[in-house]
Symmetry: C3
Subunit: 142 residues, 3 copies
């Protein structure tokens, strides 16, 4: 089985957002996979994907705080400033977290740890809608 | 060929630990793959996987030093502190390093660079045993 | 379809370098894939791969500035210094950015966002030639 589909995520404010359910609902065919993988690529360079704690909103707020402290808008060494003060830090944050996730599928469901969820990491103030390209492959139930 | 198996790694102290051999020994079926991939996902949000220098213990000690300096326990902006001072930094470190590795297999063996080894990155003081979900797929020897 | 091939990249100075075209030209068989994936692993521990902005050279210069500021050569806690002052920071930077990329292929071409390109991130002053192991798998056009 091979499947490829673009998923559009609504605009979200700068920060870290749980999107596991939205992604899974966009690919109902996952339930046919006995064993396989789901690859997600975000088609942008100033937002990223991560897999982390899915329960506490304060964890996601602290992610935003640490990343904005570690990659500050006002750093004296930025030269790429034409697209706004949040643009160059957004590229760095996106590279630190990464543009893609590869997630195992078992028995028709994502096989994640109990506390793991998919984060959309929005690094721009007004990033707009974000597109993911999902690719699924594996062996179907016989 | 498709194979999926959970691998349990014994509890380790906070720090960076080489686990390449342990992972390979848990999947003897790798030797049947002519060409393929091994995907490893750590099923936790305060530990991570990385691929780096496999020879010098001082490299792994310096990893611990840099990460604990860059993501300090005492940062004034942490709000998620209910699970202990090492918890929120552990989530950030885990996201920076990533929860998974995808590694090529060639001729029945992991096809890594000479100096590359798999790190279990334990970011908690007492993280306990850690579980990996290994997924293998590829073409077997004909 | 399965294909595995080593790609050699010429020596480059320390910094972030766009190599998308060089990688694609080394794998002309991509044009036979209707849907699939390309996995790239850099076989070194002091250089890395990333996917980011493909248009402005100043973005790539700012990447070098941020990473060299965040992982400084003169940090007092380094103990692994026998291979030169740029070696230990190079290992950390390589782990932050990651050793591999998994990229979707659709209709015979890499399916990336408009502004996304593959970076070779060279963290050593004189890293020499760098080897990638490319693995391609997927469904061919029928």
């Amino acid at each position: 089985m091979w499947l490829q589909r673009e998923i559009s995520l609504d605009p979200r404010p700068r920060g870290f957002h749980l999107v596991t359910e939205q992604v899974v609902e966009a690919i109902p065919e996952l339930d046919r996979l006995e064993v396989g993988l789901l690859h997600l690529l975000i088609l942008h360079t100033s937002a990223s994907l991560s897999l982390n704690e899915n329960a506490s909103p304060d964890v996601r707020r602290d992610f935003e705080r640490w990343f904005s402290d570690a990659v500050p808008e006002g750093a004296p060494f930025w030269t790429h400033t034409v697209e706004g003060p949040d643009d160059m830090p957004a590229h760095i944050k996106a590279a630190l977290l990464g543009p893609s996730l590869t997630l195992p599928v078992a028995g028709g469901r994502l096989a994640l740890g109990t506390w793991q969820g998919v984060y959309l990491c929005e690094h721009r103030e007004r990033g707009g809608a974000r597109s993911l390209l999902a690719t699924v492959w594996g062996a179907t139930e016989s």
